[in-house]
Structures are given as C-alpha cells and as structure tokens.
C-alpha cells in the first residue's frame, strides 16, 4: 500500500516536475514563439517591425558617446539616438526600440540571422562588407579616421615626425593594419606596442610607456577630454591616416527599409541645415514658409507616403532626437569630439542631404 502510494507520488511528482521544469527554465524561452512568425525578414523588414511593434536595434555594449548604458541602465549615445529616430519615423514612438548589445565579433551574425533589424554600432562602411557580406550601408552618420595623439611637450606637430617612436595600438581591428600600411607607405619606422584592452592601452600611453597613441580620432578626442584639466598636456596631430565612414547597416535585399533608414538620417541633416530643432519643429511644421521645409515636415506633398510612412514622420524624428547637430552635441560634445568633417556641407564639412522633393 505504502509502496504503491510512494510510486504514485513519484509518478505525479515526475509529471508536475516536467511541467514545472518547462515553466521554470527562465532562459528557456523561445523568442520565435512570442513574436508572430515574421515572413522572411530579409524581404520584409518593414512589415516585420510593424507587426512586432518594436524596432530591434543592435548597438555597442559600451562605447562612450556612441552607445553605452548609463548608470540607470538606459542606453544613450549617438548611434542609440539614431535607432530611436528610426523607431519614431516608423512606429511614431522613439521608445519602441529593443536594444540588443552586440560585440565586434557577433554584430554581423546578429544582423544576418535577423536577430536585429538594424545595426547601429559605429560600423565602418567598406567594400567587402557592402558586397560580399551582404549588407547595405544606407548612410554615413559619422566620418571618422585614424589619427595620432602625442604629449604636447614632445614637440611633434605632424605625423611625419614620429619616426622611431613607440606607438600604443589595439590589436584585431583595422587600426593595427592601418598603422603598418601607413608606416610602410611613408617609409617611417615605428615600434608598435600592442595592448588588447582600451583602458590598458590608454593607461600605458598616459603612463609614458609609449610616445604615440593611435586609434580613431573620435576615440582620441574622447580619451583626451576624459583627462580633465590635464587634457592640455596632450595633442592630437592633424594627420588622419585612414577613412572610417561609420553608419547604420541593414540586410541587403530590402530596399524599402534601407530607404527609410537613409532618409531618416538625411531628414536630421536637412533639419539642421534649415535651422529646425526639437524645440521649434512643431511651429515650423505649421508656419514655415519655405517649400522644401513644408515638404520635409509633411505640410505639403506626400513624401511620407512615398516611404510608406505617415506624412509627419520627419516631425516625429526631430521631436524625438533633434536634428543632426543636436544629437551630435548632446552625445559627442560632452566627450570632447569636435564636428570636424561632420560639419554641414554649407560649413565645409561632408554632411550633405539630397533634396526633399
């Protein structure tokens, strides 16, 4: 009797445990089963995003100014703002974004496999990534390039003068390769000191272990600005030895989504050119007399419909994150990055929006 009861307890226990086990495995959720099954995302990202109601955006897990969670765990940064801008245009709400942290190793897989819709993670637009890897780079949101930083008292003022110097550099990415190429092309002997982690490589430079520190100019500026009052003791050389056009990436073969991403960026650039900011955009949408502004903000014409969006899409973008300059100043200004080549074309920079008509 007792044995039989024990047996049945065991059997029921097993059944309930299987049930509870299914229920109790928190990481064991299949995301695919929550979202309505998306019809082949490669061809129809826009529909998939609409059906889901959120944009899934791959961002940097930690790069100051571009994408990093703040002390409250909320993602902030220049690339992050761009995700919010796209969400505002497509879904009308900048908060309808799910941010997925990606590393340099898994970012392309995340995009290829459809884990993210949009990769906004300071990714350099290169030939092979655009063609062989099967991505599209709809726009360049930030023109960067590799530069050098030296101590101000070293007396060096040009890249050609660093012959014989020890140069701190991080391995893996193109930075190390660019340095070697540049040194060979200019017949300059340098001694690279390769250190993996950013914090250690900057530590080595500030401790005087190497004479020169090389990485992208934006990174140099941020590192220098973080020194506070001691920033004056370091100088960024004018030489830029590589082209690093950074921008959002999408999967190839979905021109509709690529168009939206591209024109969200151009809307932000054009808004800066027209002097439209997050403060005055509502008013401009009602009263601005300039025909192109009226078309951009959807008062006349139907540019939004051509993109498959409501006509006031640009108003929502600018209200959410501001124009290009506002987003730049808010995120990159505090860490000491100058506009440089990212000024508007009217001010001698490279940021140029095609006409809205």
């Amino acid at each position: 009797m007792r044995k039989a009861m024990l047996g049945s307890i065991r059997a029921w226990g097993a059944a309930i445990l299987t049930l509870a086990g299914v229920a109790a495995a928190p990481p064991a959720a299949l995301h695919a089963q929550q979202a309505p099954p998306a019809p082949t995302p490669a061809a129809n990202t826009v529909e998939a995003i609409r059906a889901r109601g959120t944009l899934v955006c791959g961002v940097n897990t930690g790069l100051a100014g571009f994408g990093a969670p703040d002390a409250q765990g909320r993602y902030r940064g220049f690339d992050v703002d761009f995700c919010r801008a796209v969400a505002a245009a497509m879904l009308g709400d900048p908060e309808r974004v799910r941010f997925v942290g990606t590393t340099t190793q898994n970012r392309f897989t995340a995009l290829q496999s459809g884990e993210v819709d949009l990769l906004s993670r300071n990714t350099t637009w290169t030939f092979s990534r655009d063609t062989a890897l099967g991505f599209d780079f709809p726009a360049v949101t930030f023109y960067d390039g590799q530069g050098f930083m030296v101590r101000a008292d070293s007396g060096v003022s040009r890249g050609s003068e660093i012959g014989g110097a020890t140069v701190c550099v991080q391995p893996g990415t193109t930075t190390e390769q660019n340095l070697a190429d540049w040194a060979r092309a200019n017949r300059i002997q340098v001694q690279p000191v390769v250190i993996e982690r950013l914090e250690e490589v900057t530590g080595a430079f500030f401790a005087g272990r190497c004479d020169v520190f090389t990485t992208d100019v934006s990174g140099l500026a941020a590192t220098r600005a973080a020194q506070g009052a001691r920033a004056e003791q370091y100088r960024i050389l004018p030489d830029v030895i590589s082209k690093e056009p950074l921008g959002p990436a999408v999967r190839q073969g979905d021109p509709r989504f690529a168009d939206i991403v591209r024109w969200v960026h151009y809307a932000m650039v054009a808004a800066e050119e027209f002097g439209i900011t997050s403060q005055n955009v509502e008013q401009a949408a009602r009263t601005d007399p300039r025909p192109e502004v009226q078309r951009l903000l959807g008062r006349t014409g139907d540019l939004g419909q051509m993109l498959g969006l409501p006509n006031d899409w640009a108003v929502k973008v600018i209200r959410a994150v501001g124009n290009y300059g506002e987003s730049f100043q808010r995120n990159l200004g505090p860490i000491g990055i100058q506009r440089g080549p990212n000024r508007l074309w009217t001010e001698g920079g490279l940021q140029y929006a095609p006409p809205f008509r």
Partner: protein, 434 residues
C-alpha cells in the same frame, strides 16, 4: 556514529576506572597556547626571528598602505559625475564614488531602473535556495518542488508581464498544464497522493498567470543583466550539467558499445575545444543554420553551451569516483540481486560521489567564474556590467575600484561554496576518519 562516540568517551570521563577526580589544572603557558606556539614556530632560531620580523614589517606596511588607499584617502561620493576630486587623489586614494554611482548598473545591468527590486529579490531567492539546499535536513523529495517553485518565481519576477504565455508558449502546453493540475487534484481527492503536490502545482499555475495581476511590467530578456545573469547561468548550468554528467559517466563505463562510443565522443569533442569557442559557435554560427526569422534566445544559446561544456568536465570527475570504488562493491550489489539502476542508485553513486566532492566543487567554482566569458557575445553578466560601467569618459581610469567590487562578490560566492564543501566532506567521510 553514535556508538563510536560513546566508546571513546566512557573511559576518559566516567568514574569507571576509579581514578579520583583531579583538580583541573591549567596547562603550562610555556608548553601550549599561543605564546608557546609562536616561540616554537616563529622565533625558534635567530634566522626565523629575523624572517618573522621582516615579514611582519612588510605585511604591516602593505596593510597600512592599502588601508590608506582604500579607506583614509578614499572618496566615497562626488556630486553628479564631477570626477575631478577623484582624479586628484588618483594613486593615493580609492575612488569608491564610481561604485556608489554605478553599483546598481553593475548589479542589475540594463534592467529598467524603477524595477530593480525584482532582480534584487531574485538574488535573494537564489541565495535562500542555495542555503536551503545546503542543509542536510532538507534533503528530501520535496526539495525538488522547492527548486521548481523558486525557479518559476525567478522567471516570473525577471520577465514579469503575462508570464504564462512565455513560460508555456503553445496553447497545447497550457492545456496540458491545466489537465495535469486537474489530474493532480483528482488524484488527491481519491487519496492517491499527498496534498502537497496538487497544492504546489496550483501555486505554480497561479503564479505563472499572475504577472499582470501583480502589476509586473514585461521586461525582455536582453535587458536582464548583472548578478542575476551570472547566477542564472551558473545555477542552471550546473543543475542541468550534473545529472547529464552522471549519465555520461555511467555511459562511458557501460558495456554497450554504441552508448559507450557516444559518451566518449561527447566528452572528447567538448573537452577538446575551449569554452569560448563553444560560446562563439552558439552565438555566431548556430543562428546561421536556423531558418531566417527564427531566433532562439541568446541567453538560452549561451546557457546550453555552458551546460554541454560543464557536463563533459563533470562527467570525467564522476567517472573518477566510479573507478575508485573497489570491485567488491559492484559484485556485492550483484550478489544481492539488485537491478542495474538499484545498484547504481543505492550502492555505487552514493559512494562514488562522496569520493569526488573536492574535484566536483573545484569544477563548480571554476564554472561559476567561467560564466563571465559570455561577455564576448554581448550579454551583460556581472563582470561585463562592471566593465561597461567605466566606459563613460567621466569614470574612465577607475577600473581598479570596480574590479575590487566585482571581485568581492565573486569571492563571497566561491568562498561560501568552498567552505560548504569542506564541511560536507568532513561530515560524509566521518566513517573514514582514523
């Protein structure tokens, strides 16, 4: 145990030998006690005296320097991200302000700020779960129920919202759950089973559907982070890897060639590659094999990789225990006419596992820390969150303080595991003490 104790105690304390009770005298201080110990071990010759004094001086200096850095000159708080004060004392004093400012991010990652009480509660539940499981008086069947309940609760707290569709995504699964619940109730009414089981099942079911009622908002998995991620990966990893390891270890000693080959292949393949490459496979290669549009949760993929990896290592540890058992134990069990599973469950495993407690705990501790490798696939575990906390330019350069904070947390968990295993070992191996 009890008889052994009494036999040793009787002749000493009891009046059996008829020895008159002596007045208890204190032992001579010069022969025992701390002073004698110090004299014998630290100051036995002039060389030891010199070495002792030198080392004492060095230790004292290091300790004072550390205390000055960590306490006396330390800065505990700065007004709103103004780290100038910290930069001025750099090298002289610690900037604990970075921990004060960022501790919630380090502990909970990108989890919504207002909802931080949920992961905090999850950490407490984990700790309570470990504490309950550690006590031998709770080692009974119902402990499995406690685990299932606690883990369900953790899932509900972390996800929130309407958890039921997430825990049991398919309608048929929810129906099955309801059917099981009804079945359990029926079984109890008929007097077949104890009331605890249907009651527990009812509680789980209510909890799983109660998310919206409790007012918990939904938090998607990619926003989880910090210590709960580390605990989830380690706990689930080891909880699932351990049974797997036992099966594989038994399989490797099996007489059936197919099973044996399979187990050998599994162990050798998994052990032949580093954990980091398995995580890469799970994170970078695996999604490419899936049909487009189907995504298995990133955390789940990492979790499975960790389970497989830990399983292979633990299997070899368990196999070591199986091999250490004398042949006589197997033969005696066979002679009693026990079946294979009875023999294994009642005779072999209890002895074999007891033998391998030290290497098992060693592997457990190793894996607890190895979970931090998930940083390469962009999951914010405790260590990654700590690293991310210091990318903000204002806080760059205060890595030491953050690493000390994270290190202390890891140490607490690992040290507790290690101490516990020592006690367990002493208790289970009492019969071997000579």
């Amino acid at each position: 145990m009890a008889p052994a104790d009494t036999t040793t105690r009787v002749p000493l304390d009891g009046p059996v030998a008829g020895v008159p009770e002596a007045v208890a005298r204190r032992p001579p201080v010069a022969a025992v006690g701390p002073i004698a110990w110090a004299r014998a071990n630290l100051f036995s010759s002039w060389i030891s005296t010199a070495v002792t004094l030198l080392l004492a001086y060095l230790i004292a200096r290091a300790a004072i320097a550390f205390a000055e850095w960590a306490v006396v000159n330390a800065i505990w708080q700065v007004p709103g991200n103004q780290t100038q004060a910290c930069r001025e004392v750099k090298g002289i004093g610690a900037c604990w302000a970075v921990v004060t400012e960022k501790h919630r991010f380090i502990l909970f990652g990108t989890y919504p700020y207002e909802e931080h009480w949920r992961p905090a509660l999850v950490i407490l539940i984990f700790v309570a779960l470990y504490a309950v499981s550690a006590m031998r008086r709770f080692w009974r069947q119902e402990l499995v129920l406690v685990w299932a309940g606690a883990l369900t609760l953790i899932g509900i707290l972390m996800w929130g919202g309407d958890s039921a569709p997430r825990l049991l995504p398919q309608p048929w699964e929810q129906l099955l759950a309801l059917a099981l619940l009804a079945g359990a109730g029926f079984a109890h009414v008929r007097g077949w089973i104890n009331v605890a089981w249907p009651a527990a099942a009812l509680v789980f079911a209510l909890l799983a559907w109660a998310g919206p009622v409790l007012g918990l908002s939904y938090v998607p998995q990619e926003r989880w982070g910090g210590l709960p991620i580390t605990l989830i990966l380690a706990t689930f990893g080891l909880a699932f890897a351990f049974p797997l390891a036992i099966l594989v270890a038994l399989g490797r000693r099996s007489g059936l060639p197919a099973i044996k080959t399979l187990c050998v292949l599994y162990v050798e393949l998994i052990r032949g590659v580093p954990l980091i490459s398995l995580l890469f496979m799970a994170s970078v290669m695996f999604p490419l094999f899936l049909p487009e549009g189907m995504n298995i949760d990133k955390l789940l993929r990492a979790q499975i990789a960790i389970i497989l990896f830990a399983g292979a290592y633990l299997a070899e540890v368990v196999r070591g225990g199986l091999q250490a058992l004398p042949r006589g134990q197997y033969e005696a069990a066979d002679a009693l006419g026990l079946t294979y599973w009875q023999k294994t469950g009642l005779i072999i495993l209890p002895q074999a596992l007891r033998l391998v407690i030290p290497p098992l705990v060693n592997t457990f501790i190793g894996f607890f820390k190895d979970t931090s490798l998930v940083l390469i696939i962009g999951i914010f575990d405790l260590l990654t969150a700590g690293k991310t906390a210091i990318v903000e330019p204002a806080w760059q350069g205060f890595g030491v303080e953050v690493y000390i904070f994270v290190g202390v947390i890891y140490f607490l968990f690992c040290f507790a595991m290690s101490k516990y295993s020592q006690n367990l070992e002493a208790e289970l191996n009492r019969h071997r003490r000579r």
